[in-house]
């Protein structure tokens, strides 16, 4: 195995959250002991519902947020503290793409200017040649020079996201963190952007953290997938494998909630209760109040991520006693 490009261990992040106007702030653990590794050129999918902490984990991986506990190593070196020169230099090597492209773009500037901006900021290349590089970047994401002259509001949602991707690629980063990059797009446009990301990733040898709630898109784009629930990774494995035979009951419910058109083949597993609330984390396994197979132990004991089959890790007491394959076979 090659040395990972980014390695994060035991990432923990706690926020103070006020629940009412008059109540005292409570400490909310958004991310709780997350360990991740992404090899150069590899795509890791990070799946979870709202409140799972997947976006916070992504920001910590990029060094945009500092973990309260745990550490991030980028290319073998510790993540420099935010604000300093080494940190700014690292920004050029690790970029982010968000869900809302309109919010990520400056609506007063033409697209080409914004794609060029990172080159100017990081002083990359001969200024005279930057115009050419911008055209090259726009071309790589399927936008014309004419698109470059337009303003964000003159482009469609898909084109805007392409522009954001072009800007993120300007500095030839090694790592791209995409946070729900296609969630706001219509299905047909979503496919265009997903294909584009796959092509760019392969062509440029980018490492990518792809954060999404959409299992289908994550499976399409990722080689490995990690599933988060209430700030913890509950399962991790090879994408195809994991979705075909989920080990954790939560992954299983998520997969069954993503129905396949063309048949009502799979039975839908309907979980009880509301989406997880980080401010009121249940004891033991955080998933136990909604888990269809929970037992007494799950209420008290926090399950740790343990190997369960080739390339697979699951944090579940039930899976620990019998490997994934057995559990599936019995069901």
């Amino acid at each position: 195995m090659t040395a990972p490009l980014v390695y994060a261990e035991g990432l923990t992040r706690t926020y103070a959250m006020r629940r009412g106007l008059f109540s005292r702030p409570v400490a909310v653990r958004a991310v709780d002991g997350v360990t991740l590794a992404i090899a150069p050129g590899e795509t890791l999918g990070l799946v979870g519902e709202s409140g799972s902490g997947k976006s916070t984990a992504g920001r910590m991986l990029l060094g945009l947020e500092t973990p309260d506990r745990g550490f991030v190593r980028f290319d073998g070196r510790p993540m420099p503290p935010p604000g300093g020169a080494p940190w700014r230099a690292l920004r050029a090597r690790a970029q982010m793409v968000f869900q809302d492209p309109l919010g990520a773009l400056d609506r007063r500037l033409p697209i080409a200017t914004q794609v060029r901006e990172p080159l100017d900021i990081h002083g990359i290349g001969d200024p005279a040649l930057r115009g050419g590089r911008v055209r090259e970047l726009l071309g790589a994401v399927g936008l014309s020079a004419d698109h470059g002259r337009r303003y964000p509001f003159e482009l469609s949602g898909g084109q805007r996201q392409r522009a954001v991707i072009a800007r993120a690629l300007a500095t030839r980063p090694d790592l791209l963190v995409c946070d729900e990059p296609v969630s706001a797009l219509d299905v047909s446009i979503q496919a265009q952007v997903v294909n584009l990301l796959i092509d760019l990733q392969a062509g440029l040898g980018l490492a990518m953290l792809f954060i999404s709630h959409d299992l289908r898109v994550v499976r399409q784009i990722s080689r490995r997938v990690a599933v988060m629930y209430l700030g913890r990774i509950v399962e991790e494995g090879e994408a195809d494998d994991l979705f075909a035979a989920p080990g954790h009951p939560y992954t299983e419910a998520l997969v069954s909630a993503s129905p396949a058109p063309g048949g009502r083949a799979g039975r839908r597993i309907v979980l009880k209760g509301d989406p997880p609330n980080p401010a009121a984390r249940p004891s033991g396994c955080a998933f136990h109040p909604r888990c269809p197979v929970a037992e007494i132990r799950c209420r008290v004991e926090v399950p740790v991520l343990r190997p369960a089959g080739p390339g697979r890790q699951v944090a579940c007491h039930r899976v620990a006693e019998s490997p994934v394959a057995d559990l599936r076979g019995a069901a």
Partner: protein, 337 residues
């Protein structure tokens, strides 16, 4: 045997004919024909701006006054378009109920849940006082809100998104409707909560026999829930078919495109077949088929002739020259029209 045939034979519950809507002269809906039979579940699929929501907002008179609406919408023979306010008010919430995408903002923030459900009960069932409260509580229990009695006096902001959608469903059930129109009811919700809501709607339908129109951009959600599916594009229905057939053998290139664009959740990964280009600007609609500029199978006639939605088999309709020309009339004839 299919739902569509039944819908055609028996008088439909709701019949929409040639429904068109313009906002300030810009077309949003360009002639929609759709029938819903009693007890049937119809899915309406399409991307944003395709007109799937506008169809039902127009049908129920819920569009702003600036919308120019033409065509016909009948509920068991009664015309709803341009109907007097009394008829519309009795129909809405009484015979046809509607729930919306973002349940948190669809509920009035300054009124208690009990009052908002009670209002529908008073309007459509004539219940007041203790009876009203008891029925509101029963409905809340029915949709699975724990501790219903106490929660009646709570406000929407005190509920989670999924619970608010349950409250919306309770409110929709208050009038005992024959049809529930659910407009992207789970889009704003997490996957596991989406399953809960779809399951709840399914259970209620099994118990009450209520018909359902499920409006969604999500093919998977619609496929799982509905008997029959209509696909909309740029203000028109382009294909209609029983759910299983639509996915097994889509006939319209746009439907094929939508299915091809959807990443598979199992089996071998394949490159997604993205539909090139973008949806046409409603202010500058192509003269022929609205999908022609993005269609890989378009030929010259497609740029000139807007295809009609034609029957191509039992329960199946499609609006595509390439699909319909070969069947009934020769392509030359179509082109000469």
């Amino acid at each position: 045997m299919s739902g569509l045939d039944l819908a055609r034979d028996a008088a439909p519950l709701v019949a929409i004919r040639d429904l068109a809507v313009r906002f300030n002269g810009v077309p949003a809906l360009r002639g929609v024909d759709l029938h819903v039979a009693r007890g049937e579940a119809v899915g309406l699929v399409g991307e944003s701006g395709s007109g799937k929501s506008v169809t039902w907002l127009a049908a129920l008179g819920l569009l702003p006054g600036s919308a120019a609406i033409s065509g016909s919408v009948t509920l068991e023979g009664t015309q709803l378009l341009g109907a007097p306010a009394e008829i519309l008010d009795r129909t809405r919430g009484g015979r046809v109920a509607m729930i919306f995408q973002d349940p948190a903002s669809a509920l009035n923030p300054v009124l208690t849940i009990g009052r908002q459900i009670g209002e529908a009960l008073a309007l459509h069932r004539g219940l007041s006082g203790r009876e009203n409260a008891a029925e509101a509580r029963r409905l809340l229990e029915l949709v699975g809100i724990p501790d219903a009695g106490r929660r009646l006096s709570a406000y929407p902001h005190e509920f989670s998104g999924g619970q608010n959608q349950r409250v919306m469903i309770a409110m929709a059930l208050a009038g005992g409707p024959d049809l529930l129109v659910a407009d992207e009811p789970t889009t704003a919700l997490d996957a596991t909560i989406q399953s809960q809501i779809l399951n709840l709607i399914g259970e209620i339908r099994r118990e009450t026999g209520m018909a359902l129109v499920l409006i969604s951009h999500d093919l998977g959600v619609v496929a799982e829930t509905c008997d029959r599916i209509a696909v909309m594009y740029a203000g028109r229905i382009v294909e209609e078919a029983p759910a299983d057939q639509l996915f097994l053998a889509p006939r319209h290139p746009y439907t094929r495109g939508l299915i091809g664009a959807l990443p598979p959740i199992e089996g071998a990964r394949r490159r997604l077949v993205a539909i090139p280009g973008t949806v046409p600007d409603p202010r500058a609609m192509p003269p022929g088929c609205a999908f022609a500029p993005r269609c890989t199978q378009a030929h010259a006639a497609c740029d000139r002739i807007a295809p009609a939605l034609e029957i191509i088999g039992p329960g199946r309709r499609v609006a595509c020259l390439a699909e319909t020309a070969g069947r009934g009339s020769a392509p030359t004839e179509v082109a000469a029209e």
